[in-house]
Point group: C2
Chain length 418, copies 2
C-alpha cells in the first residue's frame, strides 16, 4: 500500500508550481529527471536477458517447395515444462519449442499454414514417450516421387539438432492429406509410475477393474465446462497394474509398479483423478467399490472433493492408429542420441535416488522413523491432507450443474466489469 | 551495440537547446519525463519479486543470555546449491542459509562473534549426510546447569523450522570451548555413488588399494596454490567399493555401487580426481598401476590433464571426532520430518529413474542402441572427450612449479592493472 501511494506521488506533478520556477530551475529539473530515467533504464537493461540480435536473413522461399503430410512421434521429459500446449505467458512449453524448431529448419512456413493437429494435450509436468502430431512439412521430393521414403529429408535428425535434448522427434510416417493425429487416433495409452510403499496392490487391481468399459467419468475428471465439455462418457479398454522392478526381498516398500490405462480418449485430469482414488483404495482408506459408486452418476451426480495424484509420474506412452499406411521411420543415428540422453538423465536420477536411499537406510538403522510408517503414495497426492481421514463419499460435493452455473455467473460478472 | 548508443543518446541532454525553450515547453518536457519515469518504475516494480517489508522488531537482547559451545551435525542435498561456503555473488549456499537461520532464531548475534568452524568445505553440487560445525549458541541454561542437556533449547527443531527442507540439522552435541569442528576432526568419510555400467569393478578395487596410506596427492587434486596450499601429503586410511543395489539378474549394468573413502583430511577436488582415474581404470582405458605412477611424484612431478568426475554423486558422509565428551543429541520429531522429506525426494527421483528406464528398455527392445555399448561412467566424467583415447600419462602435463609461476604472474598483472 505504501509503495502504491509513493509511486502515485512521484508521477503526479504540480503544473502551477513548475510554471513559477525559473528557466534554470526547470532545466536542472529536466537534467535530474533525465539522469533518473537513465538509471532506471540501466536497471531494466540488467534485469532483461540479453537477447542476441535477430539475423536478418533472406526469408526462405517456400513458393518453390513441395509439401507432404506426415505424422511425427515426439518423446519428451515434461517435468520441467509448463505443459504441452503453447501458452501466452510462457515460452516454456513443448509446443513452443516444437514450432520454433519447425520454423528454424524451414520445414513449415507458419503454424497457421501447417494443417497441424496434436494427439494429446498433456498437462504441466507430464511426459510422453509417444506423443503424435500430424503436420504438413516441406519435402525434398516431387509429389509423384514421395513414395520413395528413403530419399526424403531426415525430419527427425533435422529437428533434433535444434530441439532441446528433452524434446526429441523419434520417428515420422507419411500419411494421407486428410489424416489427423487427433481425430484418427484409435487409442491412447497412459502409464503412471509409483512405489509400492504401504499400498495393497491387489485391492487397487480390484478397484481399477471396475473402471473398464464405457462409463460416465464426470466424477473422475476436472469438468472442463469452460471449454464446452459437458459429455463425460469415455471407454477404458485396458487397465493393468504391473510390477516393474523388485527392489529386494527385504525392502518391498521400494518395489516399483506401473499402471497402464488405455482408451480411445480421456477427459481433463482423468488419469490423475483415477490414480487419486486408486491410491486411497491401496492405502485401505477406501474400499474398491468406491469406484463403482463414483461411476454411478444417477446415484452420485455430484463429485466429492478429493486430491488427484501428481503429474510427474504420468506418461502419454502411445498413440495408436488403425491406418495400414502408417509406417514409422526411425532414424538410427537420431535414436542413438536420444538413448544416450535418456541414459544420462537416468544416471543422475538414479544416483540421487540411491544417495537418498542410503541416507534413509542409515537413519532407519539408527532407529529413527520406525514407529511412523510412510505412505509413499501420500507424496504423490496433492493438496491438503486432513488430520482425521474423511471418507470420500462423505466430503463436500459439487455437480456438473453447479459447475455450469458457476461458470455462467463468473462469465456474466466479467462482462459487467468490462 | 545499438542499445548502448541509444541509451547514451537518451541520457545526454543539450542544456543550450533547453534554455532556448519557453517555460511552457520546459514544463511539458518535465511532464513527459515524469510520465516516462513512472512507466519505467512500473516495469521495475513488476520485475522485482515482491518483498515483504522488514519488521522493525526490537533487537534481541543478547546481553542477558548465556552461551554454550556446541557441534551441529548438518545434512544437506547440495545438488541445487552453489556449494557449502558463503560467496559474495550468490545467496544460494548452504552456509548462507545456515547463518540466516541461526540469526533468525537468535541463537547467535553474528557470525563474527560465534566462534564458528566448519569441518568440510564442499563444492557446488556436493551433498552431505554428516557435515559438522562448531559454534557458540545461546543457551537457556545457566553455565553451571549446562550438563542438564535435556533441559537445553531444542536446537535442531528451532533451526529446521526456518531452514530450507534440503538443509537440516540432525543432531547437536555439547563440547568444550576450545574444541573446533575443523581442527579436532580425526577423520572425514566421503561416499561416491555410481552405476556399474561397463566398469570392471575388480580392476577399480586394485587401483583404489594403491591409494591407501600416506602419499603426495598433487596429481590427484586441483592444486590450490591461490590459497597457499603447497603441501600435498595426505593419508587415506580406508577405501572400499561396495555393491549397494543389485538391479536384477539380466541388467547388471544398472547395479549401483558406492565407494567409501576415509582420511583425516583431503585436498581440493581430491575425491573427484580419484574417481576420474578409477573410472578410466574400470573402463579398461588405463591399468590399475597408473595410480602408483601418479603417486610417484619423483618420477612424475607434473600432473597430466584428465577429467575429474561429477560432483552430484559425492557425499561428505561422516566427520569423526575422538572426544569422549561428544554425545550426539537427536531430536526424534525433527528427524522424522527429515526422513519424510528424504522419502519424498526419493519418491520423485525414483519415479523419474523408473520412467526413464522403462523408455530405454522399450527402445532397446525395438532394437535400437544395441550396437553401441554405453559407458554410464562417461556421463559422470566432465569436460571434453577426445574421439581417440589418449593415455593419461601421454597427455599434456603441468607441475606445481608451473602453477606457482602462473599464479605469481597473474597476481603481478592484476596488481599492475590496479
Amino acid at each position: 500500500m505504501n509503495v502504491q501511494i509513493k509511486k502515485q506521488n512521484n508521477s503526479t506533478i504540480n503544473e502551477d508550481e513548475l510554471i513559477n520556477l525559473s528557466k534554470e530551475e526547470l532545466v536542472s529539473k529536466i537534467k535530474a529527471l533525465t539522469a533518473h530515467n537513465f538509471q532506471l533504464k540501466s536497471i531494466i537493461a540488467k534485469s532483461e536477458i540479453t537477447k542476441a540480435p535477430k539475423r536478418n536473413n533472406k526469408p526462405f522461399n517456400f513458393a518453390k517447395c513441395t509439401f507432404r503430410k506426415v505424422l511425427l512421434k515426439i518423446l519428451y521429459l515434461g517435468w520441467d515444462y509448463q505443459g504441452y500446449v503453447v501458452q501466452e505467458d510462457t515460452t516454456n512449453t513443448i509446443e513452443h519449442h516444437l514450432f520454433e524448431a519447425l520454423i528454424k529448419t524451414c520445414l513449415i512456413k507458419s503454424r497457421q499454414e501447417s494443417d497441424y493437429h496434436r494427439c494429446g494435450r498433456t498437462d504441466k509436468g507430464v511426459s510422453s514417450y509417444g506423443q503424435v502430431i500430424s503436420i504438413n512439412l516441406r519435402s525434398k521430393l516431387l509429389n509423384n516421387d514421395q513414395d520413395n521414403i528413403k530419399e526424403e529429408l531426415d525430419y527427425c535428425t533435422m529437428l533434433n539438432r535444434v530441439l532441446p535434448c528433452n524434446i526429441q522427434c523419434i520417428a515420422w510416417s507419411p500419411i494421407l492429406n486428410e489424416f489427423s493425429a487427433r481425430f484418427d487416433c484409435k487409442s491412447r495409452v497412459y502409464k503412471y509410475f509409483f512405489f509400492k510403499g504401504e499400498l495393497d496392490i491387489e485391492k487397487m487391481r480390484i478397484g481399477s477393474n471396475h473402471l473398464l468399459g464405457d462409463h460416465d467419468f464426470r466424477n473422475f475428471c476436472k469438468m472442463d465446462v469452460g471449454n464446452g465439455v459437458t459429455q463425460f462418457n469415455r471407454n477404458i479398454t485396458k487397465i493393468n497394474i504391473d510390477l516393474f522392478h523388485k527392489w529386494g526381498s527385504n525392502k518391498e516398500d521400494y518395489d516399483s509398479y506401473v499402471i497402464t490405462i488405455e482408451g480411445q480418449a480421456f477427459l481433463w485430469h482423468q488419469i490423475r483423478c483415477i490414480m487419486g482414488i486408486l491410491f486411497l483404495i491401496g492405502q485401505n482408506r477406501e474400499l474398491p467399490e468406491i469406484v463403482k459408486e463414483l461411476l454411478d452418476v444417477d446415484q452420485n451426480p455430484r463429485k466429492p472433493e478429493y486430491n488427484m495424484a501428481s503429474e510427474i509420474p504420468l506418461n502419454l506412452f502411445e498413440c495408436n492408429y488403425d491406418d495400414e499406411n502408417i509406417i514409422w521411420n526411425y532414424s538410427e543415428i537420431s535414436l542413438n542420441m536420444v538413448l544416450e540422453n535418456l541414459k544420462k538423465k537416468l544416471t543422475y536420477s538414479s544416483i540421487k535416488a540411491n544417495m537418498l536411499m542410503y541416507m534413509i537406510n542409515d537413519l532407519e538403522q539408527k532407529g529413527f522413523g520406525e514407529k511412523k510408517k510412510t505412505y509413499f503414495s501420500d507424496f504423490l497426492l496433492q493438496g491438503i491432507k486432513t488430520k482425521n481421514y474423511v471418507p470420500v463419499m462423505k466430503r463436500q460435493k459439487y455437480s456438473l450443474e453447479d459447475k455450469i452455473k458457476h461458470y455462467t455467473k463468473r462469465k456474466r460478472i466479467e462482462i459487467n466489469n468490462q
